[in-house]
Symmetry: C2
Subunit: 146 residues, 2 copies
């Protein structure tokens, strides 16, 4: 239901949120998130255009979050790389339906609206603060806060 | 979020539910649902394997519903052609996470679980019984129950 691009974007944002604002080189992010570097580079570019990450050049350059982890939710991330396409008008192009969706398309669109609501309710900060043995991206016991 | 295949399958099932059990030729379904006939044919085959439709050969042959409209919900249809892939184990392959998803993947999987719940709550019969000016597949005033 969610694309590979979405999965990779979420991993990258989690990694940057765990990095306390220090710019991270693409190769390092790629290694930890297990994403092919060329693919990751494109995903980071989309998120840079979307205002979620900032690219910093130079010796200690790389990518860092553009906002605080408490200001970014899961839906923001998805929307920046592969937005959920809501049903705005009749997919069959029926004129009399137009924006007055039939019961079928109304149900399908409602399901997408609910997904958006659920995903916008969790910020990066919340995901990282949750008590768990499964720290995102890391095997148990190997995560060291920087 | 949902594929073209899902959209086409839903349209075909709605059409068959509106046809009061009479077998409908693929060409006729294709015309009303505005789906390319070859594509529709594959979708109908998947739904036949999934036990949602029955193919009837002969002069007045075609496809008809295998169950009553009140026994088929939207999720059944989606599952027969392009199932929602839930997150069963850690997408990064982290051994210590395994089935104990981290907070990120738990949230994403929960969103999918909610979609499944929402879509399984509406049967074909309910969609067709709902009072509306937008009868699925038809311009206002052109639907004639068979």
């Amino acid at each position: 239901m969610f694309s590979q691009t979405v999965e990779y974007a979420l991993r990258a944002m989690i990694y940057l949120a765990q990095s306390s604002g220090k710019p991270q080189p693409t190769e390092e992010i790629a290694k930890v998130t297990k994403v092919p570097p060329a693919y990751l580079s494109k995903v980071l570019q989309s998120m840079s255009k979307g205002g979620l990450v900032i690219s910093q050049r130079g010796l200690h350059g790389g990518f860092r979050l553009a906002k605080k982890p408490e200001e970014v939710n899961i839906l923001d991330i998805i929307s920046s790389v592969d937005p959920i396409e809501r049903i705005q008008t009749c997919p069959l192009g029926l004129k009399s339906h137009g924006v007055h969706l039939c019961p079928l398309h109304r149900r399908v669109d409602n399901a997408m609206a609910e997904v958006e609501k659920t995903l916008s309710a969790s910020t990066l900060a919340e995901l990282l603060a949750e008590p768990t043995d499964s720290i995102p991206l890391y095997e148990a016991g190997t995560f060291k806060p920087s």
